[in-house]
Every structure is written in structure tokens, then in C-alpha cells.
Symmetry: C2
Subunit: 309 residues, 2 copies
């Protein structure tokens, strides 16, 4: 693959919507530009992107809008995993053809209690169908939401069968023991472990990991990138604690709606608060609490003016 290996801090990019709930392309492109300026890579179409509420055509259109705007695919890791193999193959082909540095791939997530054999066949089928040596897959392990996880045994088997294609993982299990096992078992083979939250960025880096792919990168990018850039310095634990305090303020509430409300508040663009059903916006009392919590952390979005229309 010609694109450089992905490392550092990426964010599942929030998808802004217009009042009619169609994707707001100008807001989306501005937000991606702003994230890149803060040093954050673009994992568009992740869980926090409401990507599972977008059709294949909507995702293709948003990715094309970024590329048309001149965004380099070197920092792009679009989510391409869906329930239906045909959709996953189409989105993955599109991302690879665009030169994206990698793709983030959920397992098929409707059927529960499926076997590692079935999941192996699912991933293998996509890899074989895309049949492009530039393909780099980051497995997306998020059992609290998908309910279908990616076991260590499955990773071992995938790495044996597709050693270069299977490039790493986003671990959103919320289980540090799992992240530690991934770092111990697979990172030494060049399988890049990204934490699914910045709250364990420091231990992930100390364990040899590649970085984190984190929702709060959408609102607190510079501080997270700062810890990534200076994690070997003496104040790293203090920085980690500060990140955790900000994250905790968002985590008290439904995260996607809370982050969108924060961007709406800090940019003065009320339309940013819109979410697609089945999600709902946070309420006025929640917005007040969130603002107070964030003020208490001394939180401000950097250069928020660049995000305003």
C-alpha cells in the first residue's frame, strides 16, 4: 500500500445533519478539515458517526465529498463493515480505490452467537472479493454495541491467512485485559492496536500500541494529540488525568448527542445538534449540566471558529 501506516489519534467523525436529516456535506467537510488541522486522523463512518444509520450511497457520497475537497486519503480509515457482505464489499472496494490508508471493519452484527468460523468466513469473503493488495483492515471490536466480538483466536487465524491485509484493531471492548492481551500477543507482529478511548491512551502507548480511535477526538482533539506526541515525558500521567476528566463529562450523557450539542454551543451553529433517529438530542437541562461540567474542566474546543459556517 502506498499510504503510510496509520498511527496516533483518529476520531470516528461525527456526521452533521441538515434539518431534513440528510447529511450536511459542508459541515462534514469543515469538521474533517478542522480535525486534520488538530492532528487527528479521520475514521469516518464509525459508531459515533451514526454510520449505521447511513446508507451505502450516503457513505460513498460523504467520502467522495472529502476527496473532492482535496483531503488526502493518507489519514482516512473509513468504517466499511455492515450486516450484508455485498454492502461491506462495495464500501471497502470504494475506500481502497480512493487510496484510503485503511478501513475499520465491524463484523456482521445482526446474527448473535455466531462462531469464529463464521466470522472468519465473513472477513475472508470480503478480503477475497476486494482482492487488492493495498487493502489494510482494522478490525472493529465493540461488543457492548455490536454484541458480536472479535476473539484473540479469530485474530490469530486471520493474521495467518492474511498477514498484511489484517493490519490492526480498534478495541472498544472497555476491557483493559483484552487490550493488554492484544498488545502482548499481536502488536509485536506489527498488528497495530488502537485503544477505543483516550482514557487508556497512555497504557496503550506504554504497551507498544499505535494510538487511539476515540469519539471525544471530535471535540477535544488537541489535548489528546498532545498526550500522544509527548507520552514519554514526565507530565504524561497528569495529561492522561485531564483527558479523563473531560471524557467523563461527555460520558455522563449519550455521547453522540452530547458532542454534537457541544459543537453547536461552541460554534454558535445550532444545526450541529441534530441527530438521526433512533438517537435523540440531549435536553436543555442536560446541555446545562454538560456545559457546567466542561467549564469545570477548563474545556474549550480549539479554533472552534474554523468550524462555524
Amino acid at each position: 500500500m502506498s499510504a503510510p501506516r496509520l498511527r496516533g489519534v483518529l476520531s470516528p467523525v461525527l456526521t452533521p445533519f441538515d434539518a431534513d436529516l440528510s447529511p450536511s456535506v459542508p459541515r462534514f467537510v469543515r469538521h474533517c478539515r478542522w480535525l486534520l488541522d488538530q492532528g487527528v486522523g479521520l475514521s469516518v463512518f464509525g459508531t459515533n458517526s451514526e454510520a449505521n444509520s447511513l446508507t451505502v450511497q450516503e457513505k460513498r457520497g460523504l467520502l467522495d465529498a472529502l476527496l473532492d475537497d482535496g483531503v488526502s486519503p493518507d489519514r482516512l480509515m473509513p468504517g466499511t463493515g455492515t450486516c450484508a457482505p455485498g454492502d461491506t464489499i462495495e464500501l471497502t472496494r470504494h475506500a481502497v480505490a480512493a487510496g484510503c490508508a485503511g478501513v475499520l471493519m465491524l463484523p456482521p452484527f445482526f446474527y448473535k452467537g455466531v462462531s469464529d468460523e463464521g466470522l472468519f468466513r465473513s472477513f475472508a469473503r470480503v478480503i477475497d472479493a476486494v482482492a487488492d493488495e493495498r487493502l489494510r483492515i482494522y478490525l472493529y471490536h465493540i461488543p457492548p454495541v455490536s454484541q458480536v466480538g472479535i476473539s484473540l483466536a479469530l485474530i490469530e487465524r486471520l493474521l495467518k491467512a492474511y498477514p498484511r491485509v489484517v493490519a490492526g484493531i480498534k478495541d472498544s471492548s472497555g476491557d483493559w485485559n483484552n487490550t493488554a492481551a492484544l498488545l502482548r500477543e499481536f502488536q509485536p507482529q506489527g498488528f497495530d492496536v488502537f485503544a477505543g478511548t483516550e482514557t487508556v491512551l497512555l497504557p496503550t502507548l506504554r504497551g507498544g500500541g499505535a494510538g487511539c480511535i476515540t469519539a471525544t477526538g471530535n471535540v477535544n482533539p488537541a489535548a489528546i494529540v498532545d498526550l500522544y506526541a509527548h507520552w514519554t515525558e514526565a507530565d504524561a500521567d497528569d495529561k492522561q488525568q485531564a483527558l479523563n476528566a473531560t471524557r467523563a463529562a461527555f460520558q455522563k450523557l449519550p455521547m453522540i448527542a452530547a458532542m454534537k450539542a457541544t459543537i453547536a454551543r461552541q460554534t454558535g451553529d445550532a444545526g450541529w445538534a441534530t441527530v438521526r433517529p433512533p438517537l435523540v438530542e440531549i435536553e436543555a437541562a442536560q446541555r446545562t449540566m454538560l456545559a457546567a461540567d466542561l467549564d469545570a474542566c477548563g474545556f474549550r474546543m480549539p479554533d472552534a471558529s474554523a468550524l462555524a459556517a
Copy 2:
């Protein structure tokens, strides 16, 4: 809606696949014809149809193949609920335009822990977008798989807002208390309650319900229809027990693969056993056990020769 109200026994129609895992249209049409001949309605694109592993285009193509073959839409209740509202709207519009008697609609199922308000908005958005007075929605409540359920409070609200469109429910909760509550609260208003399994067909009918939509209708249709047709007679409880014994044989194993293996065996068409990943076929020892269990029940698929190529 010109189509008559759906009642009785329907089945989430198994989707046969060719060796390359594309849908096998001839097998599918033959299977649907055979089910109709047995008196079973067609809930194509349900959970047991592996519908969540099919793209929108694949589902549209299969529905069109049935209509092109002259299958009447009067006994059709295609599943149209997906994660993405755009896909759900497209599939629902297509079904309504084809004159289907109803659609079976999953809630959006990726995001977990969503509110009734968010689910109400999801269904409302689809109904408003389709904007066709012929639309009849059967809500699909299957929390063991979708993890996102449909509460009594949500149904009440939907019925108030869309009294004719929201026509009924398939209750696959596996919780008889929930089915009983649905029968008590909503069936008297003309909201049709279908059990999600024939194992509670008799109590459902005794409670005033409309019938059942059941996986095993794919293999044991005539016996289930026989109980539906004669449920007020003296031997109804015996018939229910016989149905339960057959069901139990399938339920020991992953149901979809077990039913497909049974059709393969009874028709001599080995290709019928194929499933799409993430599912896997049952193994030889499981097939042997299943065949023995079914023989012990005296089970035979009726007119299986009509299914063979």
C-alpha cells in the same frame, strides 16, 4: 389497502444460495410456491431468511422474482426494517408499490439502549416518507437477536399516531407474558398479534391473536396450518404438543442451518444446505442427530418432491 388482512400461519422464508453465495432465485421461487400450496404466507426477508445478510438490491430482486412469477402480493409480508432509514424507506416503498399485504419491520438495531422517543421517530419517519395509505406495518419484536425491543408504551404511541398503518406485531421475545399483554392490550383494537413461534400458536389463538410467523413453517407447514385451521377442536392440545416436539428437534441446533439441511436431505438437493457467513452449515454428526430426532417425531416434509429442481 386492497389486500385482505393477513392472518394465519406465515413463515420467514429461507433464502437458498448458490455455491457462490448469491441468492438462488429458482430454489427461492419454488420454495415460496410450495409454502403457499401448504397454506403458509410469505414473510420473506425475516431473521430466518438471513435477510440481514442481503443487500437492498438483493431483496428487491428476490421480491420482484416472486411477483414476476405470478405470486400474489396478498400473502406477502416482506421484512423491510434495517439499520439505515434510507434503506428501510426504499424497501418499504417497493413492497407497498408491489401491493404487498404488509411489511414486517425491525427497529433500527445497531445502536443499543435507545429511547422509545427515538424509536417512535424512526418508525414515524419511515411512515411519513412512504406516505401511502396502503401501508400496513407489522412491528418486529425480537430482542434476543436485535437487542432493541418494542415496548408496550411505544406501540400505544404508534397506534395513536398511525392507527391504520400500524397493523400488528410479530412477537419473538420468547416471553409469553409479553405476548399475553399484547393480546390483552392491543388485539381488541384490531392490532394483530402474531406469535413468533408455533409453540405458542394455540394460546395465541385462544387469546384472540391472528396466528404465527414461524421459522419452522419452512419445513413443517402443513401441520402448523392444520392446528390453525382446527384450533377449536378437541384434539388441538395434542396437535400443539406434536408441533412442539418437531420444533424442539430443530431448536437443538442452529435453526437456519438445521432447516436448510433438512430441506437438502428431503429433496435430495444438497445445495439447499448452503448458508451465508457469519452462519455456518451444521456438521455431519449434527445432521445425523437431527435426522434421528425428526424420524422419532414421524416428521416428513409434505410434497417435498415439489421443491426439488
